[in-house]
Symmetry: C2
């Protein structure tokens, strides 16, 4: 804990994992832990026990308050934090946080955002907190791309999420790579897919003909059979899916600068694909933004609290 | 065996099953069997033993010749029957059949067709024999839709396959319905999906905005969460995928009549979707066409053979 008394604990609780940070009263990370106890692996409403175990391992004081974003607030999570509808001001989300009543400490779960449009219903939980984190840098407005299992493309205008759309790109990639007729060729063992010329070519092809994105999937298999190009299958599949996502998400926006919230190989793949599409981008680290958004929310939940006052 | 001596045995050997027919010398089905020993379930090159077991159960004479179409001719099948390249005359495919040399009877495997186009490589094995079957009715030319795990859309001109494209619609449907984040809502238990208004609406939506087909997948989940419309998920998923296929396959063809080769629920779903798209169709039974195509091929392989001459 670096010797400093934490101001709060901040938790990003997702579907497959969680991250816990202890934050100082100026938002610095004092200590952190990661766990595999995502929403899907928790049974018997064991959220409280999982959280306390992580806080205990971090040596957090028993009365340290906690702010949580992500799937813990889903209907099937710890306690439902009902969605805030678009347009949703990011700096007002903390007003709609729900408190876990039966906990021994103060625990608040932040809401997600929903879009109740008949032709484009959509939901997010967790990404809104990253967007709030971005807004602290004065870069809040714009078109954000948050790639992942379910990629989000989000318009932020005047500090509010006005519309967004989700693409199941990461999930489709995993299903097709591992369980489809493409699995014979598309293994994970071919190195960084986005560096292959076949990746850029696949992005270009689908950008040129985005109405046929589904129809291009089987051609990956056909090329493997006919041209012995099986080793290109992973790069092609990744390029096809990411390219289709970018084509659909950026229609009519050729001049937009994309705020890409990604790290690691995802950041590399999306940066390469955006370059093929001729779109400029600024890169943000998702974890940094999540911590900032959680800290900002904590400051709104406990405006008068001082870490020093809590020192025993 | 109806008391008639068969002219040949005909086999459609697919990835997950096979069908065996005994045919008279005028192409009538005298008897038939189905088996689950598709390409994927046969190990140790056991194709010959599987075939003989089925022929034996049908009481087929030991010298009865056999003609086979489908995946048995794949590189990973019984014996590779190399693809014939487009444009591929349907009535010349039998010339490129390969003979299984180590069999005790005459066994020929028909080739598939490939399209070696750099921007749209594609392959088929089995569907070409159904198309040959259709050509016997004088309805050979036109745009054929053969839905399934891997749907084929095929242009036949002057009795030749000139171009075609494959859509992984059936496979995507199964993967998304059973293994994706949509599986929570999309179960198979909601009755015939194509009869639901939600099916037609999903077809219409994707036809209106086909460049965003991938982007519509997650909205099925969002609508289930926001509007409690989980019971519509299967119909919507089916409509979205079939609609995206039709949109891509019929671009620039608003006046085409589609020759739909399908039966059962697939026929119902595609007929309903084509109607939403304002496209007219003629329906053909896939099995009837396969039998006709196999018989036509057998007649080309053994032009002088008479069933009667074989009577002991």
């Amino acid at each position: 804990m670096n010797g400093l008394r934490p101001f709060c604990a901040a938790v990003d609780w997702g579907t497959t994992n969680l991250r816990v940070w202890l934050l100082s009263d100026d938002g610095k990370v004092l200590d952190e832990r990661r766990g595999a106890e995502g929403l899907l692996s928790i049974t018997d409403r064991g959220f409280g026990r999982v959280l306390e175990a992580h806080l205990n391992a971090l040596g957090a004081p028993g009365n340290l308050p906690v702010v949580i974003c992500g799937m813990a607030g889903a209907r099937t999570g710890w306690l439902e934090a009902p969605y805030v509808e678009t347009p949703a001001r990011l700096d007002a989300l903390a007003d709609r946080a729900v408190r876990v009543e039966d906990a021994k400490r103060e625990i608040f779960i932040l809401p997600g955002i929903c879009q109740r449009k008949k032709d484009a219903p959509d939901v997010m939980r967790g990404e809104e907190t990253q967007l709030l984190g971005a807004s602290l840098d004065g870069v809040g407005d714009g078109l954000f791309c948050l790639p992942g299992t379910h990629s989000k493309w989000v318009n932020v205008e005047g500090g509010a999420v006005t519309r967004f759309s989700t693409f199941m790109t990461g999930e489709l990639f995993e299903l097709l790579r591992s369980r489809s007729v493409l699995a014979q060729f598309a293994s994970a063992s071919h190195g960084p897919a986005e560096s292959a010329p076949a990746f850029a070519e696949a992005v270009r092809n689908v950008l040129d003909d985005s109405a046929n994105a589904f129809g291009r999937l089987f051609s990956i298999r056909a090329a493997a059979l006919l041209e012995n190009e099986g080793e290109l299958a992973t790069a092609r599949l990744s390029g096809l899916l990411i390219g289709a996502e970018i084509a659909a998400a950026t229609r009519g926006r050729s001049n937009s600068e994309i705020r890409l919230v990604a790290s690691g190989s995802l950041a590399g793949a999306y940066a390469a694909a955006l370059e093929v599409a001729g779109l400029s981008k600024t890169l943000f680290d998702p974890e940094t933004l999540a911590v900032r958004g959680l800290f900002k929310s904590a400051r709104m939940l406990w405006p008068d609290k001082s870490a020093k006052a809590d020192v025993a």
